[in-house]
């Protein structure tokens, strides 16, 4: 891999993307959707705020979960055709015959696709900056943004790998969406069903056996990795309680609770922190990153030439 080679491919892909699509409209409508959502959510939360809880915390959590979902919907389309699409247009082979290495091509294409996703994420930055002044810690904002950025990269990488493995761009696009569906919706469904099956067989819930099924879920990773906010004093009981109205914190505590051993008795009153709870997100994030890295390795192998084997139905040129 060479920096100049990656840069050349990256700029080339970027130039093509900028000149191809009606990206101004796409970016414009994307920004509009994000800001309409933020505005409406703000109105709802501000109306609902009967106590002194800062509105920025639920606003930030809701916004990031929404943006993650939206980006997951869009990301597969960014890179799912970047290799087999080039092959279909007859531009891949001439590129492979140059002095660019397969790694240059794969990494350049990944960075180009990824940066499109990051631009989409960047349109939420003003809203994020505002929520930081409204109760969200800077650490949480930064960590959450980094995790979303990594998850976008994972979806781009997996889609890129599929576009290298499959001869037809329509198939790789479809399978990229299947991948997003599998981690986004399939994972909680699988967890829920497995949990129910185990519960009927053995009596007490054995979620501790199947918690890992939730781990690759991007929303779980996002929520659980978000640093906890400082606890606050409940104004009625005077005890310290976790920050209420915090979707990320609540979801994170929930999935950590799933890992508890069977027969665990919830203490009362609810403590601010369960020191024995183990985080789920490191597994989920590691699994996602491993899938992304694996897809990139496959893509690079597919681009390596001279080719010994070709994917079924592929012509080099």
């Amino acid at each position: 891999m060479t920096v100049s080679g990656v840069w050349l491919v990256l700029m080339q892909e970027f130039r093509m993307r900028v000149r191809t699509g009606r990206w101004q409209w796409l970016l414009g409508s994307w920004t509009a959707v994000v800001w309409i959502f933020t505005g409406l959510l703000y109105v709802v939360l501000a109306e609902d705020q009967y106590n002194d809880d800062p509105v920025g915390i639920p606003l930030f959590g809701g916004l990031m979960l929404f943006v993650l979902g939206l980006i997951l919907l869009v990301s597969p389309a960014i890179t799912a055709q970047s290799i087999n699409g080039d092959r279909e247009r007859g531009t891949l082979a001439t590129l492979q015959a140059t002095l660019l290495t397969p790694t240059d091509i794969v990494v350049g294409k990944l960075l180009a696709g990824w940066s499109v996703g990051l631009v989409a994420l960047a349109t939420t930055l003003p809203a994020v900056a505002w929520t930081v002044t409204e109760g969200v810690t800077l650490l949480r904002a930064v960590v959450t943004l980094v995790v979303v950025a990594l998850l976008i990269g994972v979806v781009c990488a997996v889609s890129l790998g599929l576009s290298a493995m499959l001869p037809r761009s329509i198939t790789s696009t479809l399978l990229s969406y299947v991948f997003v569906f599998a981690i986004g919706i399939g994972s909680p469904i699988l967890f829920g069903l497995s949990s129910a099956v185990l519960a009927t067989n053995t009596g007490p819930t054995r979620d501790d056996l199947v918690w890992w099924m939730l781990a690759p879920n991007p929303f779980v990773v996002l929520a659980d990795s978000a640093p906890q906010l400082p606890p606050k004093r409940d104004k009625y009981t005077g005890r310290m309680i976790p920050q209420p109205n915090d979707p990320l914190g609540e979801l994170g505590r929930e999935v950590r609770g799933v890992r508890r051993p069977p027969g665990y008795q919830r203490p009362y009153p609810e403590p601010v922190d369960y020191p024995n709870d183990h985080p789920v997100w490191p597994f989920g994030l590691a699994l996602n990153l491993a899938m992304g890295a694996g897809a990139l390795v496959i893509a690079r192998e597919r681009l390596r030439s001279p080719a010994h084997t070709l994917p079924l139905g592929t012509r080099i040129a």
């Binding site: 130039r15 191809t20 007859g90 015959a97 002095l99 660019l100 001279p306 040129a317």
Partner: protein
């Protein structure tokens, strides 16, 4: 392996699943000459080109491009090889100059050389006026010129062209022919595959016939003329006089058994002339002399379809 050869392939085999695309092909392409790769569709020409262009690994056999093995050192081969595939795409969103710049950089030319080569290529391909226009406005012939210019950006010593003349109008083909002759004169080993046999006869120094993944014959173009007897066509201002003279010479009607031409008869007269049975050049020259001395006013006399076509049909005749 001989140093004077830009391309040497020995007993190269390649299969795709159960399809044997190449079954032991042999080929040499010397520097300073244009070698033509000729054969029917599916004979393995493109497969061989892909192997030479370092994109496909052979199952078996020895390959050297510029003295380098493309399997063990593909980068070394790419540095000195230009390749133009038969079907290719251009980046439609780029301008002509951007397209060339991109590939110059992909071939790791430094900034100064990139600028120089892009300018030279724009001039050589006569695409200067399109430098800042989108690639997709180019005509087919212009796109072909651009692709050839692209293949030559890094000044390769070996040039691989897969069907470069397909779809070109006569004017563009003449340009291509002159361009390739110029490259060969500059010492480049040019390998060109084509179906347009009459063109190849003027472009190529050497012809390699391939059929069903194997080399069917490797000839100097000059030798093709004497490769074997071939049919000749003769036309005269007065077809009736020509027919009469041919009958007298024992070459028409029921006068079978004429010496030296295997007893075959000439075809019936036609506006395009009379096709004579297969003869060697010496025999044909004798016949022409006889016709002229018999007072027939001959205006055209030559091998039907050219030497190359005759040799091609003879070598691949079973596939017609």
């Amino acid at each position: 392996m001989v140093d004077g050869y830009g391309i040497v392939a020995r007993d190269v085999c390649r299969s795709f699943g159960r399809v044997h695309a190449l079954g032991g092909i042999d080929l040499t392409a010397p520097y300073g000459q244009v070698t033509a790769l000729v054969g029917p569709n599916g004979a393995g020409k493109t497969t061989l080109m892909l192997i030479l262009a370092t994109l496909l690994a052979p199952d078996r056999g020895e390959v050297r491009v510029g003295g380098i093995d493309p399997v063990t050192d593909p980068v070394g081969v790419r540095r000195q090889t230009g390749w133009m595939p038969d079907a290719f795409g251009l980046y439609d969103q780029l301008t002509v100059a951007e397209y060339l710049e991109f590939f110059a950089q992909a071939y790791r030319l430094d900034r100064a050389r990139t600028a120089r080569r892009v300018a030279e290529t724009l001039a050589a391909t006569r695409l200067g006026e399109y430098a800042h226009r989108s690639v997709h406005v180019l005509s087919r012939g212009q796109k072909q010129r651009l692709a050839l210019g692209r293949a030559l950006l890094h000044e390769p010593r070996v040039l691989l062209l897969d069907e470069p003349a397909s779809g070109l109008d006569p004017h563009s083909r003449i340009e291509l022919r002159d361009g390739l002759r110029g490259l060969a004169a500059a010492g480049v080993a040019v390998l060109v595959s084509s179906h347009i046999l009459s063109e190849l006869e003027e472009i190529a120094d050497r012809i390699v016939f391939v059929s069903a993944g194997q080399t069917a014959g490797e000839y100097e173009v000059g030798d093709l003329a004497n490769a074997g007897p071939m049919p000749w066509r003769v036309r005269a201002t007065d077809p009736a006089a020509l027919s009469l003279a041919l009958v007298e010479l024992g070459l028409a009607g029921g006068a079978a058994g004429a010496a030296g031409v295997g007893g075959a008869a000439a075809t019936a007269p036609h506006e395009s002339g009379v096709v004579l049975p297969p003869m060697l050049e010496e025999q044909a020259a004798d016949l022409l002399a006889a016709l002229v001395s018999a007072g027939v006013r001959v205006v055209a006399f030559g091998p039907v379809g050219g030497h190359l076509e005759s040799a091609y049909l003879a070598l691949t005749g079973d596939q017609r």
